[in-house]
Symmetry: C2
Subunit: 317 residues, 2 copies
């Protein structure tokens, strides 16, 4: 690879595609995003993404021969062996699609596929709120709740690429059924979906994420309390994780992180209450800095730096 090679970052969100080009030091050369229905048709989403990469390449004045690789984010767990989406429930139109192969062929580039929370972790830990830190736990609070771990400056994926599944830690033994089949998972108590369900009876069926932010801006006490309850539930789980991982920082991102202080102070409160004092004293609770760009920038980092993932992946025996 030439040292002036250019890498592609590509992030598929449920209803949006984000593309970036960068140099080998992950400096951004150009960026573009578009609203596209990703969930229901992988084929159309891939077509659109390939066109976006091509248009961005031309407008940035980059030669095709300069492109050396791509990092790609998808909103769901990846099967390490095939590079395909592992769950049909989360991304119905993508089930079984060998995403890595398909994108590699269409882009004519080596491709690394990674789930969105892992890329968000890499983006925020390298270029965002956690830059300069070694051990960062990134939480993505959105329609679901995911997380990614950066350990020693590198993405940690676990034995089967499943590390960071914080959303499915049980927080209430008698809680609501979760899409994973278990009951009372953190997602059923503190995700955007859960919060909207709590607010609907009093605020009407039309309530959306934007309504929540508007009500918070208008100092609505009830909504503020529901958000800090969600923060405390997330912080309760993070306290245990801090006892075990002893991170320097937890970084809170995802669409719901815009709720800001009530969410973050709820998280802080539970960590201070439930983690060991020496662990709680060390850990910073930081708002993410990259917003919706976290994943596409993480994809750039993944593609720009070889050896960005901790150790060898353990392959199933």
């Amino acid at each position: 690879m030439s040292s002036n090679g250019v890498v592609v970052g590509l992030d598929f969100n449920h209803d949006r595609i984000h593309v970036a080009l960068g140099d080998r030091a992950a400096n951004v050369l150009g960026e573009v995003a578009a609203d596209i229905d990703v969930d229901n048709s992988a084929a159309e989403a891939v077509d659109a993404a390939v066109e976006m990469v091509e248009a961005l390449r031309v407008s940035a004045g980059v030669e095709k021969s300069q492109l050396v690789g791509a990092g790609v984010g998808v909103p769901g767990p990846i099967d390490d062996r095939t590079g395909a989406l592992a769950s049909a429930e989360i991304l119905p139109g993508w089930a079984g699609l060998p995403a890595r192969e398909a994108l590699s062929r269409r882009l004519g580039l080596p491709v690394q596929v990674e789930n969105d929370a892992n890329l968000g972790a890499l983006g925020e830990a390298t270029l965002g709120a956690g830059r300069g830190l070694q051990h960062v736990f990134y939480v993505r609070v959105a329609s679901g709740i995911g997380a990614g771990l950066v350990i020693g400056g590198k993405l940690y994926r676990g034995a089967a690429g499943m590390a960071g599944e914080i959303g499915h830690v049980q927080v209430r033994a008698d809680g609501l059924l979760c899409r994973c089949g278990n009951r009372g998972c953190l997602e059923t108590a503190a995700s955007e979906r859960a919060i909207l369900a709590v607010l609907r009876p009093t605020r009407g069926d039309g309530i959306t994420r934007q309504t929540i932010f508007d009500l918070l801006a208008a100092d609505d006490v009830g909504v503020s309390r529901v958000i800090s309850d969600a923060g405390r539930a997330i912080g309760r789980v993070l306290a245990d994780i801090c006892n075990v991982f002893n991170p320097e920082a937890v970084v809170i991102g995802g669409e719901l992180a815009e709720a800001g202080d009530p969410l973050l102070s709820g998280i802080r409160e539970s960590i201070d209450r439930f983690a060991l004092p020496s662990v709680a004293q060390v850990v910073k609770v930081l708002p993410a800095e990259l917003g919706e760009r976290a994943e596409v920038l993480g994809a750039l980092v993944l593609a720009s730096t070889p050896d960005q993932v901790t150790a060898d992946r353990a392959l199933p025996g």
Copy 2:
């Protein structure tokens, strides 16, 4: 350092000192253990340890000039900045002693000090039940409950050397007071101390760890149930950790691990019940293989291999 250098492993347990000599590939050249009151006097324990190292060196036919370094285990958290014991409560006779410096001066060798659960993790992951695996979570079930993480084949210590504090994850909101000041910690529900307290009312004040093993061997249903309850409580916490860390194996060591099947199957049951299926399917629950040698062999591994710890330690700012 010469390639035929010899390293020292030294493990201080509460009432026992264990010493080993090994080559740079952590092959054991000699081993010795002695019952000594470590808890109440650091000075006497250090004197005894230095004598044991010297006697073992002579009997193993090793020249003084061949010794290149030592790894040392102590049963409590280490302050990264000073190499001193961080808690006076756990090891009263050692509080504030700069253990690393004192031992380095007395042995005339560079010394790395580490807590017992971290060394047990390194020993079991490298030479014991987890050998050949990359991502191993080691749990030490003894008078307290500690844990150590090996990630990508290396010991992971966390931001302040506090990683692995699984014993202080709260499992019962209205549980017993813990020595850490919190309430309902795993240690108050499933450590040897907690189990003995549960059994005393029916089995008498004289009950000990050995009595427990004897009763298990005699198929005592009540004791077996108490042990598997403890296993389920430990497994409940491990299920959450597996969701986040996605290890290839959890290895169960410490003095109480000898309880064997009721403990291990309780742990397995809770992991299968509470972790995500794709996470639970991957993780093996393994009994430790090195017994009381785990820590001293981990100390050997620590001393024999440079770069045995993940990334740079993050120093407090």
